[in-house]
Subunit: 333 residues, 2 copies
């Protein structure tokens, strides 16, 4: 048997916590032999959930955490003061080397702060970017950085490009991933000061497959595998994509169910629509990794179900097996 | 009769030039008595198009321009060197006060450069923002700035907020428009350096209805009437919205027509879908204005049809009647 991957699962902070979290962990350890999960949260509630299922008992351990960080907590304050919360206890376990990574559906801001403050950046890493895998019309694209560290420098973006490239190749499995930079025109001379300074630096990188500018209009078509940008822009792109897709799907549903006739039509198109839109289900890629830390921190959606939880736990496994942090070290230092 | 509004129509540079341009002008002068249109472009081709229609001959005049700026021309070079192009001749007519504004479907970059260099900024205006009216789930939102002048200063954004507010109230007709700033969190302390500096300045403005941060996730829901941002971010938001909407609609069409059964279903839902998606047709608002210049410059879509052309010509009329530039002067100086 391969070496065990140990993952912390923050049982709290999600919309379906702890139920879906626990079920995700149960399914994960049943499916993958070399996985061990610490479920961190209120012991009695987790025990209650676990009691519902059959699973290899030696692969899951409860770590009691009486407190919880909620979406209303300020990130910095929460990490500093809620020392008994499931998130802080979990992050500290990664820091202490008890686990290879942590998966959390909780407060994004707190997880970003906690990842950097508690788990800590790898030596040589300037910033730890949040890099979700987003659906496109042609496969998926890693958008890096969508985190909270705004106003990046060119050297930060070059590190993002390298880390994103390694992640996309070895965790997601895209050979020689195409790396682009978000820009407002295709030409090298276009862009803001940051992009203009970063562009030639990326061109010089022999270890990445830099293909130049990616315009936002083309982003949804999967024109690059890794798309590098400063966190403010990345966050706006991520949130706009989510908001617009949800809004448009809502409108379409509204139209389809507006009359009895359209409802009949909707029933007839539904199977095919489901098929084409299934490509937008990125839960199979797990969650958004926070890269460049001493251990993997994975942010899953607040409304994550057990499937996303399970795949995020597997994601930590792949990250460890593929020795991503070792590869990052080699390329950056 | 009210005073004539004189508008230059750049007949070239669009996908359907000059045919749809000319038809738009014909319909506009037939519908609105107090409108006069200079159609600028190759005289014989425009004459040929005009010959197809009945219209009040005294309301349209052809201004011959032998050259054309294409989408392949570099903006600065095109404006500097193609002096006989329809766009440059048209912009110069606005500069010289022969017309109140210009409507063009041509090269966006060239129009932005030409607007500022040839028509020129109003005294006291730091930057001339491009401010398209975008569809949302609840009405429309003016996104300002989506232009090419990136790396803005806080004082630029404050001017954008004021100009956008005036435009939205008096041209689009939204009373006391809500003004927001694009941010990556709802709280005042969130954001990049630019947003953090701009936020308190906007709060102090007594003449705008500032409602605080707008997250990109909420933008498609029409949570504000005027949304202020730096041009790089605005351009990314505009293009991402267009690209994603087109991509998703394409996917849905693909699913709907995948099988004979789904095609039958599609026929049944189509009338209702058209109804809900009609709200996404923003051509009734004309094109995207470039504000703060000595005359109105309106960018319409490259693939604009006669309806968008007509409404953009009316837009210049409303802009003049409502004395928008006079109102901007009052509020800024």
């Amino acid at each position: 048997m391969a070496e065990l991957t140990k993952v912390v699962l923050d049982a709290m902070g999600g919309d379906h916590s702890p139920g879906e979290m626990v079920l995700g962990a149960v399914n994960a350890v049943k499916e993958k032999e070399d996985l061990f999960v610490y479920i961190v949260g209120p012991e009695d509630r987790i025990k209650e959930e676990l009691a519902k299922y059959e699973y290899p008992k030696e692969k899951i351990e409860i770590v009691h955490a009486p407190d919880e960080i909620t979406c209303h907590d300020g990130p910095v304050d929460a990490i500093r003061k809620k020392k008994e919360s499931s998130m802080v206890i979990g992050l500290n376990m990664v820091k202490e080397g008890k686990a290879d990574g942590i998966v959390s559906a909780g407060n994004s801001g707190a997880l970003l702060v906690g990842g950097q403050v508690l788990v800590g950046k790898m030596k040589g890493i300037e910033r730890a970017p949040l890099a979700p895998v987003l659906p496109t019309m042609n496969g998926v694209t890693l958008l890096i950085d969508c985190g909270a560290n705004v106003d990046a420098k060119p050297s930060n973006l070059v590190q993002f490009a390298r880390m994103g490239s390694i992640y996309m190749e070895y965790v997601v499995g895209v050979k020689n991933p195409r790396v682009g930079i978000v820009n407002i025109g295709a030409e090298e001379e276009k862009g803001n000061a940051l992009v203009k300074e970063t562009f030639p630096l990326l061109k010089e990188c022999k270890d990445i497959n830099f293909i130049g500018s990616v315009e936002a209009r083309d982003f949804p078509y999967g024109v690059a595998d890794v798309v590098v940008t400063e966190a403010f822009v990345g966050n706006v792109m991520l949130k706009l994509t989510e908001g617009l897709a949800a809004g448009l799907f809502g409108k379409i549903k509204e139209g389809m169910t507006a009359t009895p006739i359209s409802t009949v039509g909707a029933a007839l198109v539904k199977p095919q629509l489901k098929k084409v839109l299934k490509e937008y289900d990125t839960t199979e890629y797990g969650g958004a990794p926070l890269l460049g830390l001493n251990g993997l921190v994975v942010k899953i959606h607040g409304n994550a179900t057990n499937k996303e939880v399970k795949n995020a736990l597997f994601q930590v496994g792949t990250f460890k097996e593929q020795e991503i942090n070792e590869k990052i070290k080699e390329h950056l230092l």
